[in-house]
C-alpha cells in the first residue's frame, strides 16, 4: 500500500495535482450552494416585504 502512495517517487506531483483538482471540484459546488441559499433568502425577504405593504 505504501508504494502505491509513493507513486514511483512522483508522490508530491501526482497527489498535488489530484488534490488541487479535487479541492476545486468540491469547493465550487459548495460556493454554488451558498450562493443559492443567499438568493433564496433574499427572495423570502422580498415576499415578507410585499405581504406587509
Amino acid at each position: 500500500m505504501k508504494e502505491f502512495f509513493a507513486m514511483g517517487g512522483y508522490a508530491l506531483y501526482v497527489w498535488g495535482s489530484f488534490a488541487m483538482t479535487a479541492l476545486l471540484m468540491i469547493v465550487e459546488p459548495i460556493l454554488l450552494r451558498r450562493r443559492k441559499q443567499a438568493a433564496l433568502a433574499r427572495i423570502r425577504r422580498i415576499a415578507r416585504l410585499q405581504q406587509q405593504r
Binding site: 517517487g9 506531483y13 501526482v14 483538482t21 433564496l40 433574499r42 427572495i43 422580498i46
Partner: protein, 250 residues
C-alpha cells in the same frame, strides 16, 4: 446548432428552463460521480505505467481533460453569448455568464497540473511551453470576462457587453495560440513533446476519455446549478419566483 434547439432556447423563458436545469444538473452530477469513480480507479490501478515517465505521467488524467474543457467552455460561452446578442434572449446570456467561472477554474486546474507535471519532467515549475502559455492567456481572457461582468451593474448591459468581449475573444484564441507556437518554436527550437496522444496505449486512452467525460458531466452539473442561481437572482422580483420559493420548489 440544429434550428430546433435554437428556436427552443429562443422561446423558452427562464421560468420554464429553471426546473429543467435542475433535472439536468442533478443527473449530470450523478453521472459525474460514477464516471469519476471509474476514471480514478482506472487512472491509478488499470492504466499501465509509462515506460519513460513512470507513475508521474498519471497527471495527464487530470491535466488533459481540464485543458480541453477550459478551451471547450470558452467556445461554448462565446456561442451562448452570440446567441443572446443576436436573439436578445436573456436566458442565453445567463448561460454564458454561468459557464465563465467554471471555465476559469478548469483553466486554473490545467495550469496547476501542468506546472506540477513540468517540475519532475523538465525540472522547473513553470515552462514557457506553447500549450501552457496559451492556457495562461486563456485564463486571462476568462478573468477579463468575469471582471467586466462584475464591473457593470445593469444586468442587461453586462450580458451584452460580455457577449461582445467573448466573441472578440473567441476570434482571437486561435491567433493567440498560433502566435505563441510561432514564438515558442523560434526561441526554443523544437518544443518538448509533452505527449503524443495518438501513440498512447489504448488502455491509457480509454482512461483519458472516461476522465474527460467525467469532467464534461461535472461542468454541465455546475453550470446548471449556477444558471439556476443567476435566474433566482435576476428574477427575484417576479411572481413566478415568489410562488416557487413559497411552495419550496426552488
Amino acid at each position: 446548432m440544429s434550428s430546433r434547439l435554437v428556436n427552443w432556447f429562443k422561446f423558452s423563458s427562464p421560468s420554464t428552463f429553471y426546473p429543467l436545469a435542475g433535472k439536468i444538473g442533478f443527473w449530470s452530477m450523478v453521472v459525474t460521480v460514477v464516471l469519476l469513480a471509474v476514471g480514478l480507479y482506472m487512472s491509478f490501478f488499470v492504466a499501465p505505467t509509462d515506460y519513460k515517465q513512470g507513475e508521474g505521467y498519471r497527471i495527464i488524467y487530470v491535466h488533459v481533460p481540464a485543458a480541453w474543457m477550459s478551451m471547450f467552455l470558452y467556445v461554448l460561452m462565446a456561442g451562448w453569448a452570440a446567441l443572446g446578442l443576436v436573439f436578445n434572449t436573456r436566458l442565453s446570456a445567463m448561460m454564458a455568464s454561468a459557464l465563465a467561472p467554471t471555465g476559469a477554474s478548469m483553466a486554473f486546474i490545467a495550469l496547476w497540473t501542468g506546472a506540477f507535471w513540468g517540475k519532475p519532467m523538465w525540472g522547473a515549475w513553470w515552462v514557457w511551453d506553447a500549450r501552457l502559455t496559451s492556457e495562461l492567456i486563456l485564463l486571462f481572457l476568462y478573468l477579463g470576462f468575469i471582471a467586466l461582468q462584475s464591473a457593470i451593474d445593469d444586468p442587461r448591459r453586462a450580458d451584452r457587453a460580455c457577449a461582445v468581449l467573448a466573441i472578440v475573444g473567441v476570434v482571437n484564441v486561435p491567433i493567440i495560440y498560433y502566435s505563441v507556437i510561432w514564438w515558442n518554436t523560434l526561441h526554443q527550437g523544437a518544443t518538448i513533446q509533452i505527449r503524443g496522444e495518438s501513440s498512447m496505449d489504448p488502455l491509457m486512452l480509454t482512461t483519458l476519455l472516461i476522465m474527460t467525460l467525467a469532467f464534461w458531466a461535472y461542468c454541465i452539473a455546475v453550470a446548471m446549478a449556477r444558471v439556476r442561481s443567476i435566474i433566482l437572482e435576476r428574477e427575484r422580483e417576479t411572481t413566478w419566483v415568489g410562488e416557487m420559493v413559497k411552495e419550496g420548489r426552488a
